[in-house]
């Protein structure tokens, strides 16, 4: 997996997992849409983009996606811009690497460095693709409440009750994990030989020990969690859902709208001769 692996959803410092503070209530049309369908759309758009290797198509899609997000997501402009910084940096890296390392028609050369036209085109395409998926992922993350996403997956995507609630229990665990981490570090600090300036050892070894403790504590906690879920009969019978997530006509309108725009852009781009498929990679 090569994209910047985890983006802190850019909001509020450490983002969701760090704080158990309730997040600001989500408003705006996008936040009211069904989470399962949003996730499915994000998947379809991302997967479709993977097969596009010209810079024009993703550039158009980026503008459309940005307009749609600004219009429907009600995310503060500053938050939205900051959240895209990692994607811009990563995209710039992609552009430079491809420009320098792709053989083809030479545009500029100095010593062992050479920039090829093909490299710039493909690098630009990959960078813009990163931006499109980036802004959509950010909008998804900022307008989707994880618990209602899991509930909705259970209701609308037939995710089994046991798996759904196991993952939700895991989410709770994740929220407590920063505190658990601090506790473990403090427990180690009580006994660890301090460094000469009186601070905690911070080397790789100390962190690895804390990480291993975290794993052990969590496995133990998980076993208790499984027992308590099982002793309450989870998954034995059909269950009702607390706070069911609605799935309404407007959700299908969103799905239709996004798919029409996506396919429309692909078709128009192909007719104008801009569209390039994966064959571009092999020159």
């Amino acid at each position: 997996m090569s994209a910047p692996p985890i983006v802190v959803p850019a909001v509020a410092g450490m983002g969701r997992p760090a704080t158990s503070v309730p997040r600001t209530p989500l408003t705006g049309p996008l936040a009211r849409r069904n989470p399962t369908l949003k996730l499915a759309l994000l998947f379809v758009v991302s997967a479709g983009l993977v097969f596009i290797l010209d810079p024009v198509t993703p550039a158009v899609l980026y503008l459309l996606a940005a307009a749609a997000v600004v219009a429907t997501a009600r995310i503060r402009t500053r938050t939205l811009l900051l959240a895209q910084l990692p994607f811009v940096a990563f995209g710039a890296g992609l552009l430079v690497v491809n420009a320098l390392s792709r053989p083809g028609e030479i545009l500029w050369e100095a010593g062992i460095l050479r920039v090829s036209v093909e490299g710039l085109v493909i690098g630009g395409s990959l960078a813009l693709r990163t931006l499109v998926i980036g802004i959509l992922s950010v909008a998804f993350a900022l307008t989707t409440e994880p618990v209602s996403l899991m509930t909705s997956l259970h209701q609308h995507a037939r995710l089994g009750a046991r798996l759904t609630y196991a993952i939700l229990a895991g989410y709770r665990m994740l929220q407590e994990m920063p505190r658990e981490w601090v506790t473990i570090r403090q427990a180690h600090a009580v006994r660890a030989p301090l460094r000469s300036d009186g601070t905690l050892p911070r080397g790789v070894g100390a962190l690895a020990r804390a990480a291993f403790s975290l794993l052990v504590v969590s496995v133990r906690k998980g076993e208790r969690m499984a027992q308590s879920l099982e002793s309450r009969g989870l998954g034995l019978s059909p269950r009702s859902t607390w706070r069911p997530v609605p799935l309404v006509a407007a959700d299908w309108v969103m799905v239709g709208g996004v798919l029409v725009v996506l396919v429309g852009v692909f078709v128009i781009s192909a007719q104008l001769g801009f569209l390039e498929g994966p064959a571009a990679l092999f020159g």
Binding site: P5, P17, A47, V50, G93, G170, E223
Partner: protein, 219 residues
């Protein structure tokens, strides 16, 4: 819970038998939760360590693109650990996919839902060597192969997704990722599993039943 010797394995076997009659692929809740816990812990640790790493790789600019391959193996580690502890078919694939769900849904991973595809491929690659031994062999070699195949499977997908085909760096990327897979995604997993066994927290899972059952038989 912590009575490792006689009662626990029996009880576990009973529940397992009851389940197998209904559906051979039904999982016990305990095993499912373990997969989730592994996903959560490693998701959290990746997230902690990756903060620094992302900053570093952005600072390194284009070199960062290459440098991050060295850590690729770390993404594979959940699968062999899960397989070794739970010892059932699809444990590795499920563990990876659950971990990716946690990263995408709860930690807001930048890759988006395409991560599910990569995770399934990694899990399949990492699990294959164990599956070929019918979940019986847990030697260093099996772990190493697990890391190698996990990295190998996902490489061709990543290469397509990130446009590495046709770059001069293609083989260098492949080599770095395979080595990283063997070390971080294979051998390190064995160290961690052995460490977990020593602590006794996994005694009530298949790995503990196998070990304690052997002890029992040899007496």
């Amino acid at each position: 819970m912590s009575t490792p010797l006689s009662p626990a394995p029996n009880r576990a076997n009973n529940t397992a038998n009851n389940r197998t009659k209904a559906n051979p692929f039904a999982w016990t809740l305990k095993d499912l939760v373990l997969l989730v816990v592994l996903g959560v812990v490693f998701g959290f640790l990746y997230w902690v360590f990756v903060q620094a790493w992302t900053a570093l790789s952005i600072l390194m600019g284009p070199a960062g693109d290459l440098a991050q391959h060295f850590l690729l193996g770390a993404w594979l580690i959940v699968a062999p650990i899960a397989v070794a502890i739970v010892r059932r078919p699809f444990a590795g694939v499920m563990a990876e996919v659950i971990a990716s769900v946690i990263e995408v849904v709860f930690l807001g991973s930048a890759v988006g839902p395409l991560l599910f595809v990569a995770a399934a491929l990694q899990g399949a690659g990492s699990e294959l060597p164990f599956a070929l031994t019918r979940y019986r062999n847990y030697s260093w070699l099996t772990y190493a192969l697990s890391g190698l195949l996990g990295a190998g499977f996902v490489f061709f997908y990543s290469a397509f997704r990130s446009g590495w085909y046709g770059q001069d760096l293609f083989l260098i990327r492949l080599a770095i990722q395979l080595v990283s897979g063997v070390i971080l995604g294979g051998l390190l997993a064995k160290l961690i599993v052995d460490g977990l066994v020593k602590t006794g927290v996994v005694d009530n899972f298949a790995i503990g039943r196998a070990r304690l059952g052997d002890d029992h038989a040899s007496r």
